[in-house]
Symmetry: C2
Subunit: 195 residues, 2 copies
């Protein structure tokens, strides 16, 4: 008889970690953030709670890790349509679709529980918009340095506000409104904001 063969196979290290993050993502989809428990994730991943607590201090950190393992950063592929309006619309659209994937439930839950997700999560859009505006300036569409920080982040800020409040998918028309009625008029105003 072969008594040397292990009764069960044990995962370790990154293999186990990946399995847990996958289980977290599935659990998130199955029960939502509010009803997600460490026990539920551990069961789904066929492991014990201790293994989870060894890696993440709490639910918020676990879910954040699960999201990061899924997400390709918006910053990695900045739209380049050859026109400022098209670029901004494209990047807002990506934001909106990303949010639909994650769900308002998760975002609200994380904001309530995680005390510091601002830097990584919300400041990404600043860099993306700066790239878009620099390209527009290179093209001669706008004057370099004509757009201050507040206006730079304005489209993303307004969309984020919309998403946080409504919890329903943001329609395309809202994106157009943000760009055509708010952002572009400010960029094109002859005053040329500086701050």
């Amino acid at each position: 008889m072969n008594d040397d063969a292990p009764a069960v196979r044990r995962r370790r290290g990154s293999e186990l970690e990946a399995a847990i993050l996958r289980a977290t993502w599935e659990e998130l989809g199955a029960v939502g953030y509010m009803n997600l428990t460490m026990e539920g994730v551990a069961d789904r991943a066929r492991t014990g709670k201790q293994v989870l607590y060894r890696r993440w201090r709490n639910r918020a950190e676990l879910v954040l890790a699960a999201m990061r393992s899924r997400v390709v950063s918006i910053a990695d592929d900045v739209p380049d349509t050859g026109e400022l309006r098209g670029d901004v619309l494209a990047v807002l659209d990506r934001m909106a679709r990303r949010y639909d994937d994650v769900g308002p439930d998760v975002v609200h839950g994380l904001m309530a529980e995680a005390r510091d997700l601002d830097p990584v999560f919300f400041s990404i859009m600043t860099g993306v918009m700066e790239t878009i505006l620099r390209r527009a300036a290179d093209r001669g569409e706008i004057r370099p340095g004509a757009v201050g920080r507040r206006i730079t982040t304005l489209p993303a800020d307004l969309l984020r506000h919309e998403m946080l409040l409504t919890s329903a998918p943001v329609p395309e028309s809202t994106l157009v409104e943000i760009v055509d009625d708010v952002f572009l008029p400010l960029v094109n105003s002859r005053a040329g904001r500086r701050r």
Copy 2:
């Protein structure tokens, strides 16, 4: 012997309700939203959990009721400084101070747990801004109907976004930025947004 005198006095109806809401508010200040429990409130109000559950279905509803019992609506006293800029700054300042009273903890918690506080809570500012803009139009400061819905709510939306993300008190300079760099330029742009 006076055996007819009740051993303990029992509060009822609105008297009891007021005591519970007061206790909820105190508990909120003492332990914050995340650590607020129905048991904690019941103990502080010297009553039983059942009495709470008879009136509110859960923590979110209880806290909402406690807030409503405290708050004088911003809509009840719209600023009137005689100038559009001053009015908008004043109303933003009230919003910001109101938020400081309540605390980011409570707002984030409520947004995560209460599934429908948009209507009552967030649409108030629309009416306030419409009043302010109407007065400005009457004064001849702006053209009547020159400001569309999106621009009307823009100052409040941007401030709210700021408050939801930063969790620190919003400085006066941010309010000025919102009004001078975003709102007023759009209102004064000769295009005069319509939508």
